[in-house]
Amino acid sequence: MKELNRRDFIKTTTATTAGVATIASGITLTTYAALPKESNPVTNEKRWGMLIDTNKLTESNIDDMVNACQEEHGWGNETHSTGDQQAGWIKKIKVKDKATERISNLALMCQHCEEPPCVDVCPTNASMKREDGIVLVDKHLCIGCRYCMMACPYDARSFVHESLTNQKTHMPRGKGTVEACTMCVHKVDKGEAPACVASVSSDAVIFGDLYDPTSKINQTLKKVQSTQIRADLNLNTGVRYSGI
């Protein structure tokens, strides 16, 4: 007898659900004449990840990454928030090894953990992880309790401290909710790379599917020595670093 593995099971159930949903929607809501197609739900066959090589990454690369992120999502021009109240989805970090005094520069953002503490602690399921490993805040459910910010080991999340207008169409942001790097999910779903990755012309930052053996990130990770930040916490991050 064929063993039913998890992936097959998900495939079958997804197909069945989709089928039922199609028929059911035909009954309840008749469809539009020329119906623009919706894309399929993402699956856990992929896991999006990023590899940042701090040996190749220059300081100006990091500045470009931060600027690209601000440009893409429209954060960083809050007028009333001061100091630590300002949004910071991606940060430039400079670290020095205490023994060797070696200095490395890196960009730090949401690490898109496989076991995200923010998702564990969120009382309302607003912090969530997509099937493909991208960790997001569902701002429709976020009540602004900020427990996720207490739990995040990477200081990756920001709380919107003031009213905002003129947001980007693809990136709703609002007062009283928590936000963070989305790994540019709106671009990834279109098959594009995240804005910060696209802003670096060298291969210092690689984006791709960690599971796909033909992807560049998978192959590079097999070759080079890489680390996760706070690997001791066993969160299995989607963002990896080499050279630190």
């Binding site: 809501l29 469809t31 894309s39 739900p41 997509r130 169409t169 942001r173």
Partner: protein, 134 residues
């Protein structure tokens, strides 16, 4: 007791009036153009245009929140139900050619929401005018 009855009846009556009032004062720039061209917006198969519009009017919160969960949690993109498309058609333009936020007083969303007394929470986060590049 009779005072309560009067309050109750007037609330009933006003909600009936609000429901029956199909005149929408401010459709928005693109939607008005669309209508003037004689096109049938929100038309669904097997349904008259009038019925489709009523369905749209009554069900848009459900349609939107159903789609929002699919998009955000499952990455389902595209399709007909998109808040950005609502905003795209239903915003008006002021004298200087600038877009007026769709949730501003007397604009498309706020007119009805105010009339029926329901909150309008989309735009505490979502953009209220069509995207710059459009």
């Amino acid at each position: 007791m009779s005072r309560l009855l009067i309050v109750f009846l007037s609330v009933m009556l006003s909600s009936v009036v609000a429901q029956a009032d199909h005149h929408i004062p401010n459709l928005g720039e693109k939607a008005t153009e669309f209508k003037d061209e004689g096109k049938e917006a929100h038309k669904r198969d097997g349904m008259s245009h009038a019925a489709s519009l009523i369905l749209q009017r009554k069900m848009h919160p459900e349609l939107l929140s159903h789609k929002r969960d699919k998009t955000l949690r499952q990455g389902v993109r595209g399709g007909v139900v998109q808040l950005s498309k609502c905003v795209e058609c239903h915003t008006s333009v002021d004298k200087d050619g600038e877009f007026i936020p769709v949730n501003a007083p007397d604009q498309f969303c706020s007119t009805c929401h105010k009339k029926v007394g329901t909150s309008l929470d989309c735009f505490s986060c979502h953009r209220t005018t069509p995207a710059e590049e459009m």
